[in-house]
Amino acid sequence: MKAFTELYWRLDATTKTSEKVAALRDYFAQAAHADAACALAVLCGGRQLRAVSTTDLRQWAAETAGLPVWLVEESYAHVGDLAETLALLLPDPDPEAVEESAAPGLAAMMQDTIHALRGLDSCGKQEIVRATWQRLAPRERIVWHKLLTGGLRVGVSRTLVARALADLAGVEPAVMAHRLMGDAASDADGFAQLLTPATAADDRRPYPFFLASALDQTDVGAVADDLGPVHEWQAEWKWDGMRAQLVRRGADVTAWSRGEELVNEAFPEIVSAAALLPAGTVLDGEILAVGRGDAGGPISLLGFTALSRRSGRRRVPKKLLAEYPCWFVAYDLLEHDGEDIRSLPLVERRQRLDSLVPACFGAALAGSLPDRAVLSRSPLVTGDSWEALARCRAESRTRGVEGLMLKRRTSGYAAGRTRGEWWKWKIEPLEIDAVLLYAQAGHGRRAGLHSDYTLGVWDGDRLVTIAKAYSGLADAEIVELDRIVRATTLERHGPVRICAPTVVLQLAFEGVAASTRHKSGLAVRFPRIVRWRRDKQPAEAGTLADLRRML
């Protein structure tokens, strides 16, 4: 219990991923396997059960501390965390009992003081709870209260836990993430299994993603000059979704995001569709949220906002599955019949992909795909000249895509960003002039400087917020703006300063969507600052009507 308490407070004390992983690794390295399995269930398991009601707990704490219950309630209202409130107001524990209780591990503690409460009547529960209070120091009490009431949340994702355990076991994080799927390690033996060395059988790793470089040219002639003959290039739409690899190996399928996060649980329909692929297949592509039309009719793209309702989930409710169905659109084949084919030229990989995945997403968009194919291949965009491709690119916004991908036909699938082989030729961003309304101090290098800006546009005679933007200004400009923020502050709310509207910033973004987060009811996607419009007064900034036209 002591070690787990230490872990809790180390995790609580930091927001840095590396420090969290180190804390987890240190804990798991020393914990007995039974305790470790328990900790794993608490850290990344689902809902924990509540062993006693918080009403009982408050009542007993009030009696133990010799305080009226209303005063416990007032304290709770002030502190904002019941586990902590009770820990703080209970009398100090018996030092000798604390000394003795250092020994039991988390598993024994959970068994004796939490699971043991189930089935007991109120008197029996109270006896155990009071005795436990006597032997726990306040820091331990907080953690124990959270375990007791099923409310322990420490802000570590399963991915972080996987990284820590992978480090400990000496296997790849992807292997560990795969081992952690389901309820892999529910007891000491299960946990021991987690730490065994990797075998060929559990290699579910994706390949390093090949990333495209941005092609900033807008002029067709310049593109032609840079890239050479158009027939050396394969063009595809640049989808506004989530890049992913589907790995079909051994008996199962794993889906991986570009951050090498296992996303199986968020996209069950894609995983089941991929199970029909032959073993020894790895696809690279995009997960997209689609709107289903009538049977036999065309489908539509729902965009990134819809997709974000689905991603990052560990369990997807039926309603969301139906409302935001997700499809996988493949554009590359990396492993075929168990063979790594990344060094083959793109055209050849593409041919194999076409025969492996016959359904074409383009047909689904056109309404001519008879079966709804959750797994399809990305259509090619054809054009016999750069001008023709440029005309296709110009349709991007109406099609709901971000532009074109240009891939050299002879290119292998490299790791990381290799310039010159793959380009993303995105459409120019939308832009609006917005007024600086709030500012907040940044982090890291920008700590202490007000460099996180909330911007707004005019809605009639008032300014409403539309975006937060962090990047785009030069360091010297940030310093200058920081001085203006300090000088024009009207109000302070914690770290946030509300400023008098004096500064106009030109904001670029990729699209506009409805939002409940901003007062304007709209939110812009990927907002960033283009330049400081020193030549403009706030009155000359954009309006909500301007923004609505871009919806």
Binding site: V72, L88, A441
Partner: protein, 341 residues
């Protein structure tokens, strides 16, 4: 019936003696419990404070202020009302004001604490009929650790930062808390430097005969002051200001009673919080109220309603008294004197 002390537009007023205690407006005659900004304001014609607090009050009220002093426990008569000052243990020269007239005795605590503090005289209970108490930390979750425990934590933190080559910046009120921190830590660990606002009061403390370890003023526009080994004592208002960059890489901690609560520590966005307060904790408030033997208690700034309700349930005649005192500011980075750096 006319009460001996009443809250008026200008502050806590004694009509019988025609004087104010810690007024928030400019008045002819002010009796001052201590020199924090919410209790001592400039512009009164005459101030009366406890003798040990004279230098400190002078620093805050300016060289032209007329300041009379009274030794602790000595009494004086103001327009027929007997007034005496008694140690409140809050900061150097802090006093409880005892007011006696027509057979009635009232005590105004100002701010106070019961914990030991080497930089000021310890709180002494004063018997009275009516006790006007602060309630800044009037909730049972506030119980202070022993000063030795906090000192050990402070030293361990400073030492670890020093070994990692980082400066240790501790944010504390310029008056009282800053000097107490300096007296708590082990000066062998490294150099102690302080912000100008703190230094002014360090000098006032030294002039009053309080022994403090060697503390250097942070020179303006210096670089990596203290070479990553120093303990830097600064008022809370420096948080988020470029001034902090003078120290290169540094760890930042806040010393405040509010640091008891995890949520507050997190909101303040500092790495570490030390529970150090110059106010009484919850058991301290109850102990002081009991020691006053007062049958009537008026509760001012803090959790006044809550504490008054608890006292009523325990058989005392208690009610909240609205004042403009603020005590230890929660979550805000202003210093007690409100100046921004």
């Amino acid at each position: 019936m006319q009460e001996l002390l009443e809250v008026t537009e200008a502050g806590l007023y004694c009509a019988a003696g025609d004087f104010y205690i810690d007024p928030w407006r400019r008045v002819p005659r002010a009796v001052i419990t201590h020199a924090h900004a919410d209790h001592a304001r400039t512009g009164c014609s005459r101030y009366l404070c406890a003798a040990p607090g004279k230098h400190v009050l002078r620093t805050r009220m300016g060289s032209n202020a007329t300041i009379d002093t009274l030794r602790y426990a000595d009494s004086t008569t103001i327009n027929g009302v007997r007034v005496s000052l008694h140690p409140a243990g809050h900061v150097l020269g802090s006093a409880q004001v005892r007011v006696e007239h027509a057979g009635q005795t009232w005590v105004v605590t100002g701010d106070y604490k019961l914990q030991a503090d080497p930089t000021c005289q310890a709180f002494e209970p004063v018997a009275c009929d009516v006790f006007i108490t602060e309630s800044t930390f009037g909730l049972p979750v506030y119980r202070w650790p022993e000063p030795e425990t906090v000192a050990a934590e402070l030293n361990a933190w400073w030492r670890a930062n020093r070994d990692a080559g980082r400066a240790s910046v501790i944010l504390a009120y310029a008056l009282g808390k800053a000097q107490r921190i300096a007296a708590l830590v082990d000066p062998e660990i490294g150099p102690i430097v302080a912000h100008g606002a703190v230094m002014k009061l360090v000098e006032a403390y030294r002039a009053s005969g309080i022994r403090l370890p060697s503390i250097d003023r942070v020179p303006p526009a210096a670089r990596r002051v203290g070479g990553g080994r120093a303990l830097v004592i600064a008022p809370p208002s420096v948080l988020g200001s470029p001034w902090l960059r003078l120290f290169g890489e540094s760890a930042i901690a806040v010393a405040s009673g509010w640091m008891t609560v995890r949520g507050v520590r997190r909101r303040r966005n500092v790495e570490k919080g030390f529970v150090v307060s110059d106010h009484a904790d919850f058991p301290g408030l109850l102990a002081a109220i009991e020691a006053s033997r007062a049958s009537r208690v008026l509760v001012t700034h803090g959790f006044a309603d809550i504490l008054a309700r608890l006292l009523r349930e325990r058989g005392l005649d208690a009610r909240p008294l609205a004042t403009r005192f603020t005590g230890e500011a929660l979550g805000d980075t202003a210093d007690d004197d409100g100046d921004e750096v």
